[in-house]
Amino acid sequence: MTQLLVETRGLRKYFNTSRGKLHAVDGVDFSIEEGKTLGIVGESGCGKSTLGRVILRLTDATEGEVLYQGKDILTYGRKKMLDMRKKMQMIFQDPYASLNPRMTVSEIIAEPIRIMKTLEDKQQINRRVYQMMNVVGLSGRLVNAYPHELDGGRRQRIGVARALAVDPAFIVCDEPVSALDVSIQAQILNMLMDLQEEFGLTYMFITHDLSVVKHISDDIGVMYLGQCVELSSSRQLFERPLHPYTQALLDAIPMPDPDHAMGEILKGEVTSPIEPSPGCRFANRCKHAHEACLGQDIPVYQPFPGHQVKCVLYQEGAE
């Protein structure tokens, strides 16, 4: 019997900007089972990173709940949250910006251990650092190297080792391979999948690349301008995409088969995330759009078991 590890309820994050409230994350509900991977896809600026950061409390949520094993961690005080951080870690997007240039590899990996005091003895910490480097395939010779001496792939391995050092259960991977060479992307992805199996990790895997997420995810959530417009198992989503936006994304994946006609490329401007008017945010780019899409917020429909979509086309009795 699998159980839910992480769950969000009505999660919102608004940024105050000079032009008004920017709805970066606007009511996201999902849940991730222990040991599974939830992929989050969506184009640049739709709030994927913000979602990850809010879940890990790197930034304060405006509204909503983040449940870890059923308890809302957003209510936790400083001390309890520090304990929580041992369970939840993050792998960052840009391996060139996510490592402090003034710290050596071993200092970087040891940092979370030291702060959270999962180990106190110096030699034990060193051993743990060494073991982590081993786990992510970094040569032990690099303990005293500085990040700038290493290539992107190795740097990202340091980022992975740092996240794993305190033995977490849940890891938010924020586009961990998008900044890397294609040849290295596969290596890192495979490593992440191996690590998941070995340590029983639960992932939230953020990406803008559907072909990456297909491999690694059990479930997929599609985000558009701060909202989760479709959520289902990975298989269902690829076999039967429901939301017009998801369909457009899938059509845009380049196919090796020359006879396969590329779907229509998305046209139209992305609506501004600053104080959007109620209604479907995709409407101005959607070929199915009609009056029902505008004026009021679109509820979530579930036309098939376990397959949720935020689109009036699937309203009961529609069409």
């Binding site: 105050n16 950061r53 890990l56 790197l58 949250m81 520090l82 951080r85 870690q89 993050m90 960052f92 997007q93 840009d94 910006a97 996510s98 490592l99 402090n100 240039p101 003034r102 050596t104 071993s106 940092e111 979370p112 702060i115 959270m116 030699q123 060193n126 051993r127 060494y130 073991q131 081993n134 786990v135 992510v136 395939g137 040569s139 032990g140 010779r141 303990v143 005293n144 500085y146 700038h148 980022g159 740092r162 490593m191 191996d194 070995e198």
Partner: protein, 301 residues
């Protein structure tokens, strides 16, 4: 599976070697490689030593303070290396004794302004929003008053003394530092390693001191080295209008302004105090540049 096949021997030595190398010794080793930084360090040390042992070299009371009209305005010669001023005081004695007050003023004002500027600037930059707005508006209003007027007003209110002079200078210099700190903090905090530190549970104060400031320090060091000389010059300005150092106390800036009437025919009167200011600021500058590079592991060798 990576972790099962690979099997490196753990060796404590690798970590030991690192510990020995790092810390101050490593920075020193790299600083030594820079010839200009070493030159700066040498000149600065010499000036500081001269100031410290000034009493052993030239007597303060009889050489630097007491007037001796018989000897006035002598050009540099074997007894008076730098010549004598209009009151017949030995200029060399006044320069090395003056170093004490000039360096004290230059360094203490800079140190206090840097300290306060670091706190205000990093808080403003790191937290942003309203805190940033309030701090920066207050600093802006201080900056809108010309530094010399501001110091003048403060000294006039508090009274003419060296501690008050330090307070006056510090108030005038803090806003500049705070701005530079804030600007470099802003360029640093966008980096994901700050987020990573948060995710590791590091507190705000430690994030600022361990992650933000070390990476923001380059421009700040340069500003520090410029500021010492600039403070000395500002004191000269105050002395000029009679609100700085009270004569006959020797101080480089004050000496410059005292000599203004005689400068035309006795240029050495401004040459030596001026040179002292220039050398101090130049050596600090060279040292600061070298230090900035030595502290940055990216520029290793």
């Amino acid at each position: 599976m990576t972790s099962k096949t690979a099997n490196w021997e753990f060796s404590e030595e690798l970590f030991e070697e690192y510990k020995k190398k790092s810390q101050i010794a490593e920075v020193w080793r790299r600083l030594k490689k820079s010839k200009t930084a070493m030159l700066g360090l040498f000149v600065l040390t010499t000036i500081i030593l001269l100031a410290l042992f000034a009493d052993l070299i030239r007597n303060y009371q009889s050489m630097a303070i007491e007037q001796n009209i018989m000897n006035r305005l002598q050009s540099p010669n074997s007894t008076h290396w730098f010549g004598t001023d209009a009151q017949g005081r030995d200029l060399f004695a006044r320069v090395i004794h003056g170093a004490r007050i000039s360096l004290l003023l230059g360094f203490s004002c800079t140190a206090i302004s840097v300290f306060v500027g670091l706190i205000l600037g990093s808080v403003a930059g790191y937290f942003g929003g309203k805190i940033d707005g309030v701090i920066m508006r207050i600093l802006d209003s201080i900056m809108s008053i010309p530094a010399i007027l501001l110091s003048l007003a403060i000294v006039a209110v508090l009274g003419q003394s060296i501690p008050n002079l330090i307070i006056a200078m510090t108030v005038a210099y803090v806003p500049g530092f705070a701005r530079i700190v804030r600007a470099s903090v802003l360029t640093v905090i966008g980096n994901e390693y700050i987020e990573a530190a948060k995710a590791s549970g590091l507190g705000t104060f430690r994030i600022i001191s361990k992650y933000v400031l070390p990476n923001a320090f380059g421009p700040i060091i340069v500003e520090i080295t410029m500021s010492v000389a600039s403070v000395i010059k500002a004191v000269a300005g105050l002395s000029f209008i009679g609100l700085g150092i009270i004569p006959p106390t020797p101080e480089w800036g004050a000496m410059l302004s005292e000599s203004r009437e005689f400068m035309r025919y006795n240029p050495y009167l401004v040459l030596y105090p001026g040179l002292a200011i220039v050398l101090t600021s130049l050596s600090l500058n060279l040292l600061g540049d070298g230090l900035r590079d030595a502290l940055d592991p990216r520029l290793k060798d």
